[in-house]
Symmetry: D2
Subunit: 351 residues, 4 copies
């Protein structure tokens, strides 16, 4: 890396994912935040004034005084942008940045289903980054790279070693998702105290599709979806951070549970992403206690970038059951997009 | 029913399920509490003194002054006993009552797997009560009737109409269970605030077996387990009452989702249990909103005796997905045992 | 009472206090809901469609099909209206109803500081109702009656017997207030899970003034504020319902703590309000356990209309300390306004 | 400091405060954990096996393999011991260590009221350490130093600058205390979800006395309690960590609120403790937002060692109101005892 850090923009910086970007970019070895953008309501103010900071770590001092700019490629002036925009705004704004030559690492769902946009998890499918080359045909000088939905993230990381070793046939996934996944103000407290909400709009569709794209084959410039079936059910629970997924998996080549454990534990990132600054160390932690992982106790494993698997055991119908935990605003959102950007910089030599 | 109410005992009356028995028996049309029993620690004191009352409704005045007796058939002096004993004590104490001529309607798991003990849900399998006749061969003048595990309860009620109409092939069940299911003191608050515990000791085994007994055939004095497979995963969440189960079901004869909805909605108790005092009215409520049932809002449906089903939809792998809610300390514990006792009295003419 | 029930309107019926009005008026012996009004957004729809029902008891069947009307005296067509309007709308709309001849029992704060508008607690100051006669001078054919802020309510009920018996000198009050007091959507869950918010806008001013009006003397058509000082600090906590106030009181005539207990326990409503349908039975319950009252366990005492006092003990600086609990959406909001309406009907012979 | 780190013991290391000691001593520049002691139940096992780790940061690797020893001075073999023992055990065990030549920095309340045992907050009353010299007269070669109750801690830090600048006359304090203050298993979840418990055994007595000792004068080898009055009321709330205190203060010399703010903000540790490794930087943070401090957002200020004050405003009865937040298991327990030990080492040259 050059001694000089790359100047980056955070789009939609005042929301809850935007804040997580600001927190995680504080002291990043490669990136320096050059601009923060916000909605019309906040544009023109200082970030420290207009941002209702929700994190337990204090707002970095440098962010406090930065002006909130409009989400415009000209004023943002950065070769790399992190997008924490809502999906509808992302659909409008991200292409403008791509057109203008900026690479956008987006947390929004807007472009995930586009055939030339990769959904990337560098510890799973870094080779899918090549897909983005096709975006030149849109006339873009930059491009758009997506990270998956926060719940798809941990799910896909846990499935990858199983796919590699045994092949996947069918997957049942039931999630217990944290409140921070809904942004801010998000879920009203009267709706969740002493309660569970067994529904999140649009979420099940994402869980049943995104892992199949990420675990699909890139062939002749197109991704062929992985063929296994996924059935997803989602729930919102009273947890601040950390999405839990209860998983049952049918394998192509059934295997003893000890073998499944071994494969999960031994999993390593592809070489290309292994040493990136945000690479999870290790990718997967396999807990062997009867009652782990738990969101409050385990979500910060590996600085919130590690996927924690536990309760691995046989299943009465499929081959294996397990519980997967992933930090939804770190690995599943801002941290994931930063990890993607590191891969991008390393591969494309962005500067 | 005779104008005179039947005198009943509550065994283990000071614990959380015991309290629920006391609350639900207050004003019961058929039963009158004649004795309350407790552990050595509480024996000899007044119930109002030694019971750390946890319910939102006040302790009935009549209970306050009753003495806490030892769990002994002679002193308890009742033809019918409700058992809220822990499993290990139930194994010792319940047979003594049965031997002495008392019918025990037990919430404990101790005898559920005995071949001559029925696990009863009167709206599902009242005919299994006949099984108890075989207990005479143990030399018992009374007997033991079990209600299922609190999570098995709602699960089995929801499966019954599907079994009747379409046959069951496979069932995936993931539960989100309330704190009151763990008794008192139960789950430490530091373990569950801002957290989920993806484990409850022994629970998954119960969920994978009990429904198959209840939905099995009684033939020649023995129950043949229903043949469908169940895969269960359980979680403890920060909810005071109301167990939620996310369910995916493969049917023998696949059916359109509208047909499944119809069958759930139309389900009626067998005639024999339909008019009992605690019979749920209706047995099942099918919610059609996108985000129901929810524990806080729906657990008291039908005075906590109704099973609430919602989010019924197709499934990518099986035939149907749905969410089932059942009040764990009412339908799933004390209310269920009382309902069983009503069936027993009606069928056996106990007095 | 006449056999015919009085037709009433609920203004702002779709919000959280509006819903509580609908629930409490279901089966009311004197009142029958004739119309429900809402904001422009909901006007024209059925109540069952546009109201996001938040209560644990189901929406009454009669309400489900009622149309949501604009908050207009002509279409509402009722001699009595309950107002659950936000303060800014109440300031506009309530006078229009009063002008048109409707009596408005308001839960809003808009008119509480008007010299001719009583803040009423029928078990405390029913004689203040006479103040409303002066509203004729505004040209109103009806009038406006307020109930106090939800936290002022329990506080004032607890202070009344002490004022009567000993006189009040100074009061320190620190509240722990429930989420339902903030309406819906109200407090975001990310702001209150694993947290306390030591601030509620405008609340401390109300607590330091309203009790002095309610405990003041009505003399020559005007209220002279009670002269004692109140210092209030407020907090929002993760509780669904039930406001707790920690109270320290300096008395004019210091008294032994047993005497203070006696006076609290013996307190009775003035005769005029004692037998009204919503009158709390009893007005005050004094708990003698070390750790009561508690919101979850005690908020429904006396159907949520009773004020529960506990932890009464001496104080190192003042004369007595105690904890006061009052159900904020029942006694402190909808139930309080209905109780006021009952007094109004009884005194003014409304029909 | 010598390059060699001082070998220390943690007494009662498996409990929740014991764990916090282990976590905070990980990487401490002066101290190295030489032994961990536990109850009979855990003695003989590895710490990693017998300790139910509750913290969000993982157990340090070095601790995992250490044996749990009995709480005995001979086997513990350390010149300095941190005590996380329960009060009743502390009363027996701590003197044995003191006798044997160990200095005990205790979090237990057992010896706080002894006239020759200082209750120390190095940023408040480091000069009280001199009191410990009198312990020689007990025949002890070491001694006992206490840190205050967790709630007394933040309260006393906030009062100190006010005492210095204006003198204190009277203090009303109402606490909202976190669950971790009750240890483990501590508060049952069924007691606190959707609830507040307005009582903690023995706590109010401590709050009304300990600050007066710490803010008292050391004169001729004895402490003269500060003369101001304190009235304390305590509550347990559903928060994992961070005790909040609502404070109203009457000053000897009344002052404008801006002056009070200045004095709080400008407060500095006495020189002697200012540069110790655990010294809070700064001692007090004064927040000026309307709604801070909040436990979840502010408890980690200054690594959990800083006292956060906010909502400073005038008072209707006294001179000033404010809200004080202190991290109960860091500044108020393990971190406080370690800070005391640092002062002890620096002053007494322990090695």
């Amino acid at each position: 890396m050059a001694a000089e850090r790359l100047r980056v923009a955070v789009l939609g910086a005042t929301g809850s994912v935007g804040q997580q970007f600001v927190a995680l970019l504080d002291g990043h070895p490669w990136f320096e935040v050059a601009s923060l953008t916000g909605s019309e309501r906040t544009t023109g103010s200082r970030y420290g004034e207009s941002c209702h900071w929700l994190l337990e770590t204090p707002m970095p001092a440098w962010a406090r005084e930065m002006p909130v700019l409009p989400s415009d490629p000209e004023t943002a002036g950065a070769a790399l942008a992190f997008s924490a925009l809502p999906a509808d705004q992302a659909r409008e704004i991200e292409p403008r940045f791509a057109q203008a030559g900026t690479w956008v690492c987006s947390n929004a769902s807007a472009f995930r289903r586009e055939p030339d946009v990769p959904i990337l998890l560098p510890e799973v499918n870094p080779q899918h980054l090549a897909l983005a080359a096709a975006q030149r045909q849109r006339g873009w000088k930059g491009g758009i790279i997506c990270n998956p939905n926060c719940t798809s993230t941990g799910l896909t990381v846990a499935l990858k070693p199983l796919q590699d070793a045994f092949g996947l046939r069918q997957v049942f996934a039931v999630s217990l998702q944290a409140l921070s996944g809904a942004g801010y103000p998000g879920v009203p407290s009267m709706d969740i105290l002493d309660n569970v909400i067994p529904y999140i709009a649009g979420e099940e569709d994402k869980l049943e599709w995104e892992p199949r794209k990420m675990l699909g084959q890139l062939d002749a410039g197109a991704i062929h979806l992985a063929e296994f079936g996924i059935s997803a059910q989602v729930n919102r629970v009273a947890v601040t951070a950390g999405h839990l997924v209860c998983l049952a998996v049918a394998l192509e080549k059934p295997a003893a549970i000890e073998r499944v454990a071994q494969v999960l534990q031994d999993y390593q990132s592809p070489e290309v992403s292994r040493a990136l600054p945000s690479a999870p160390q290790p990718v997967i932690v396999l807990r062997t206690e009867t009652d782990r992982p738990q969101p409050r106790l385990d979500r910060r494993t590996g600085n919130g970038m590690t996927t924690v698997v536990g309760r691995l055991r046989g299943d009465a119908i499929f081959d294996a059951k397990m519980v997967v935990l992933s930090h939804n605003t770190i690995r599943g959102a801002a941290g994931g997009a930063i990890f993607n950007a590191e891969l991008l910089v390393q591969q494309f030599g962005l500067s």
